[in-house]
Amino acid sequence: MLNQLLTSQSWLAQVQSYIFPNEVKELQWSVLIVLYPYLTGLVAGAFILASLVRVFDAKALRPTYRLALLIALAFLICAPLPLVAHLGHPERALEIMMTPHLTSAMAIFGFVYLWYLMAVLLLEVWFDYRKEIVELANSSKGPLKLIYTCLTLGIKDISEKAVAFDERAGRFITIIGIPSAALLHGYVGFIFGSVKGNPWWSSVLMPVIFLLSAIVSGISMVLVLYILITTWRKQKIDVTCVSAIGRYLMFALIFDLTLEMLDIVHRTYEAGEWFEILRLLSSGYLFQTMFIGQLFMGAVVPLSALAIMQAAKLSDRAKIWAHFVCGSLVLIGVFLMRWNVVIGGQLFSKSLKGLTTYRLELIGPEGVLAAGAVMLLPFAILWVLVKLLPPWHEAEPRPSH
């Protein structure tokens, strides 16, 4: 097959490059739309990591359980932001919920999003924190007291029975939450995977790949933030927890990488009418971000490092550093994956006979700075959430029961 690839007369060489006149002016979806699947992916991944604690009773992950929930919440609040900011008429955004067109993959976003925000994340956080919220409402003063009192929703019952119910409810919501998280992100993949006019996107594997890369990125975000915040707070990092997260990350990465390779191999083998232009795209403009960034640095390197760490004996300090680096690499790799999908899918003409270009601006509503602001906002929200609802008591040694 390789031989065939090298010797085949590229018909693109026989056709002067041509793009449709309407494709000359601009790319339709900018870096903001790259952020959208990235943010939702982080939500789904962080939630699934948190749910491992509740549903599968992964005790080693307990120190990050609440942090993971808050991370999911902070990123979920920001997830629609790049979408709405990108709209030509943001003031009409609510139409998507008032008159959703049911054949559109995008129309269901409003409902999937609200379901996940209201029925899963907020409820789970509420049930999990209810006891503390009531205690804080009683002990704090001033405007904080008002905020906490509102958050109790008027229920101050923290009897053992009520708290036991919170625990049961939380568990139940987690069980609903896992398929919901899968739906949230698998569905984002479907938005791209269902566009039959675009061979770079149109693939049944797209939702699954999106979901797995989401899990990978969410786990990495929790890992990296846990290490960063704990260091910041001058507390001791739980190495068992870090290693456990690293193990889950490794397994998720194996599935993720396998599927991404399957997609590439399948497309190469099938080699339809779109093959020449996609080959040109991935060996040219996308080579660095895809093969070097997304696949090698973002998946192969961290996967190998994590696998080696399963066997190698390392000092705690080295382990934490290694995990931190692996997590960061994966975070960059998944961002590049989103970039390669969203931008890459627009870098060739629908004529399949020419490549277009994307020039990333620095300033402007769709520039680097705007995207950076959207990317920083969830961290600011997370900071507020952590102040309001400290996730740390899990980190303290728990009385064994």
């Binding site: 609510l94 008032m98 209201m118 209810r130 229920i155």
Partner: protein
């Protein structure tokens, strides 16, 4: 039943009701009357003003032209050469249609370029009487050989 359930149900109930209230207020009147769209829109679009009048409108006044114009007889419309004329139809004193008297105007169709079927009458404008206006020899609105 634990007190949390009715309270959460209350919050969700309020939100659901708020949603339906908002929906009843924001969905446009004719939306959904004929399908999943605003049924009033096609009529709004249809009410846009014309720019090209169409050759029937030209015939109302210039009924003599078809007799004498070979281009017209083979199906060329007045506005193909003279440009959009609806304004002229509405106010013929104030707005006069474009009069194409340059070589470029004729060349638009009759310059020999790659892609034009050989059976279509065309000339190499660089060689064919350069510098001269086409209409100095070719009568457009009357039949006959070039002068």
């Amino acid at each position: 039943m634990a007190p949390q359930i009715p309270r959460v149900a209350l919050v969700f109930g309020v939100l659901v009701i708020a949603f339906f209230v908002a929906r009843s207020q924001t969905v446009p009147d004719t939306f959904g009357d004929k399908g999943h769209y605003r049924a009033a829109f096609p009529a709004e679009l249809a009410s846009l003003p014309l720019i090209h009048s169409g050759k029937q409108a030209c015939m109302e006044c210039h009924s003599d032209k078809p007799e004498t114009t070979p281009h017209f007889k083979i199906g060329v419309s007045c506005e193909s050469c003279h440009g959009p004329a609806q304004k002229h139809v509405e106010n013929f004193d104030e707005f006069k249609p474009f009069v194409p008297n340059t070589r470029a105007a004729c060349g638009r169709c009759h310059e020999a370029i790659v892609g034009r079927s050989p059976s279509f009458p065309q000339q190499n404008l660089k060689e064919h009487n350069p510098g001269q206006r086409c209409i100095s020899c070719h009568e457009i609105h009357s039949e006959g050989e070039p002068k």
